[in-house]
């Protein structure tokens, strides 16, 4: 499969944006600049970025609680994302959603969902609409290894298969659900093995390798767009940080070893991609570094933007409940 330079650079750019976004979020969250939970995507960047690089702006994605990586990977606004985390009016959802509910319908980001696996049927439905309307967009949904045990995944995959829907089920297997290893809760070795129960291809991909993620997704998108139906992709990856900011009780050592974390950090998705670019003379070390520092600047600007954006005024409380508003009860 050929992958052009522009895409390769975009992949690096977006991975760096996510990485720096998350690092900054950890910093400002622990400084108390905003409250609520936030689930760092650090270590998993290649999964969403590689996958989203295979999509058009008119394709749809939906995601979950580990929610910053997906919209940023799809090209979402860093400023609006950060302002949303800060609960400000210039955020994606005018401050009403916060970290777990980022969305940008204008570029196909149908939103992150705090309830595990809950957006899987929704994304499947977007694909259903493509089929019913005879449109050629595809839909992709991100969910975790833990989420794969929800009934919603089973129902959606089966439905997508029997209806031959243009949807890609993208399982981010970071190997843990909070503190519970997927080996303890998923009865098969690989979540992608479950594809056979739905008569669809199941692809296990190195989730630290953005290009591998991209290529697997391109194949799935082609299948979907040409009416051949859904694909299940499992990106095997690892989260470097704790499950979420704000769950302080959970100490790392109790459920995974420092050694394991260190091993995975050695397979850092950004390093891997940069090495590829440099080794193949697609970009120099300096170019990579300047992409990294540009992204840092972008994130800093986003923080400024967020800090300077006002909180919603009280009369905003009742806005956005209804498309056709009704009297307040």
């Amino acid at each position: 499969m050929s992958i052009n330079k522009e895409t390769l650079i975009m992949i690096l750019t977006r991975m760096w944006i996510i990485r720096n976004f998350e690092l900054k979020v950890m910093e400002v969250h622990s400084a108390g600049e905003f409250s609520g939970a936030a689930h760092p995507y650090i270590g998993e960047e290649a999964v969403a970025v590689g996958a989203c690089a295979a999509l058009r702006d008119t394709d749809y994605i939906a995601g979950n609680h580990r929610s910053h990586g997906h919209p940023l990977a799809k090209g979402g606004s860093v400023k609006k994302a950060m302002a949303e985390l800060y609960g400000r009016v210039d955020g994606y959802c005018k401050g009403k959603g916060g970290s777990m509910h980022l969305a940008d319908f204008s570029i196909g980001i149908l939103g992150e969902s705090g309830i595990v696996a809950s957006s899987v049927p929704v994304a499947t439905g977007a694909a259903l609409s493509a089929k019913v309307q005879g449109k050629d967009f595809v839909s992709m949904v991100f969910f975790g290894d833990g989420a794969s045990n929800q009934g919603a995944c089973h129902e959606s995959m089966n439905m997508a298969s029997v209806w031959n829907l243009p949807v890609i089920f993208l399982c981010e297997n970071n190997q843990f659900a909070v503190t519970t290893s997927y080996e303890e809760t998923v009865a098969v070795d690989h979540i992608s093995d479950r594809a056979s129960a739905y008569n669809m291809p199941g692809v296990l991909v190195d989730g630290q390798d953005a290009i591998a993620m991209y290529e697997a997704t391109v194949a799935a998108v082609e299948r979907a767009r040409s009416g051949q139906g859904p694909t299940l992709i499992e990106g095997l990856t690892y989260r470097y940080e704790e499950h979420s900011l704000g769950l302080g009780r959970v100490r790392r050592g109790e459920y995974r070893t420092t050694d394991q974390i260190d091993q995975w950090r050695k397979r850092d998705p950004i390093n891997i991609h940069e090495e590829y670019l440099i080794n193949n003379n697609i970009a120099s070390r300096e170019e990579c570094d300047s992409i990294a520092s540009d992204s840092e600047k972008l994130v800093d600007e986003a923080v400024d933007f967020a800090r300077n954006s006002p909180f919603p005024e009280p009369d905003e409380l009742f806005e956005d409940m209804w498309a056709n508003p009704i009297p307040r009860p």
Partner: protein, 322 residues
């Protein structure tokens, strides 16, 4: 004016709306062969693409309808109230919450048609009347038609509305025939129907209970008691002005609700009047709703559960004696 059964009204509204707007499609279990009756002829008229039989996966396809509604379709989903429990997450976490939590970006023109099959020996698992639960959770409009004309007019409004709507179809009305005005017939949301005017007592009755309330009012009329009967028609939005005005006139209120009595729509309406219409009240508010037990199969017990003409008449008399 033509006569139509409740189910025929559903069928007419569906066909008219599917003809009017090609974004509308319908999905559900065995709807091609119209197992519950009201999807008759849809397959022949609109084909498999717009008339989808689903797997037995309510959480999956209720959610799929939501997703489809977000990107340009206007789905109608047929189901029974009792099958909504398995799909509750999609209804609550997605349909109800999505627009608000995304700051108004999501528009969800999706309609769930939920048949309430109580009253005929369907037993505990198939007799749910669950609209009060959905009233508690903001974000879904709740429609409770009590006759064929409203059924048609409200369903058409539901399909055109840009918000999620659940239409609770009262199965006890399956045999009810009623006049349906010719031509385009639309019933707006949030406008209670003053079915019968009266001066001594107001009855607010919901869905299948409306007919019982009318019968009670007719009986009481013979005894010289003048009852006003209101049908809210939609519970979200609720036309509380009409209710409060009526109680201001009559001074007395009986609320009749086929749902379980605790935290019912009747409780809600009573609490509104006890707060905003208190000074109009000349007697205790009477709540006549289903007993707080599951629906027993046996007819000897099932008939004791629901509001009926006798219970309603007694409640009116109680409030007049007080």
């Amino acid at each position: 004016m033509t006569q139509a059964l409740f189910g025929e009204a559903i069928n007419q509204a569906t066909i008219e709306e599917m003809k009017r707007d090609e974004r509308v499609f319908i999905m559900g279990e065995d709807i091609r062969r119209a197992v519950y009756g009201s999807t008759a002829n849809l397959l022949a008229e609109f084909g498999e693409k717009r008339v989808l039989d689903t797997p037995l996966s309510e959480n999956g396809f209720f959610g799929a309808a939501i997703g489809a509604s977000l990107v340009g379709s206007r789905p109608i989903v047929e189901t029974l109230t009792s099958f909504m429990w398995v799909a509750m997450d999609q209804l609550i976490s997605q349909a109800a919450k999505m627009r608000y939590m995304f700051g108004g970006q999501a528009t969800l023109p999706v309609v769930y048609r939920a048949l309430m099959m109580y009253g005929g020996g369907a037993a505990a698992h198939h007799s749910d009347r669950s609209y009060p639960m959905f009233m508690n959770m903001p974000g879904i409009k709740i429609v409770v038609p009590s006759n064929p004309a409203d059924m048609k007019g409200l369903l058409k409004t539901a399909v055109r509305d840009d918000d999620p709507v659940i239409v609770f179809e009262d199965g006890t009305l399956a045999g009810m025939r009623g006049e349906i005005p010719d031509g385009e017939y639309i019933t707006p949301f949030g406008e209670a129907n003053i079915i019968r005017e009266g001066t001594d007592c107001t009855i607010v009755a919901i869905a299948g209970a409306v007919n019982h309330a009318i019968s009670a009012a007719e009986n009481l009329h013979k005894e010289g008691i003048s009852v006003e009967v209101l049908d809210p028609r939609t519970l979200v939005p609720l036309d509380k002005e009409t209710i409060l005005n009526s109680v201001e006139k009559t001074g007395r209120l009986v609320v009749v609700d086929p749902a379980h009595k605790v935290c019912s729509a009747a409780s809600e309406i009573a609490s509104i009047v006890a707060q905003e219409g208190f000074w109009s009240l000349q007697a205790p508010i009477q709540k006549v709703a289903s007993e707080q037990v599951h629906i027993p199969f046996t007819p000897s017990l099932e008939k004791l559960v629901y509001p009926d003409v006798t219970k309603i008449s007694n409640a009116v008399k109680n409030t007049l004696e007080d």
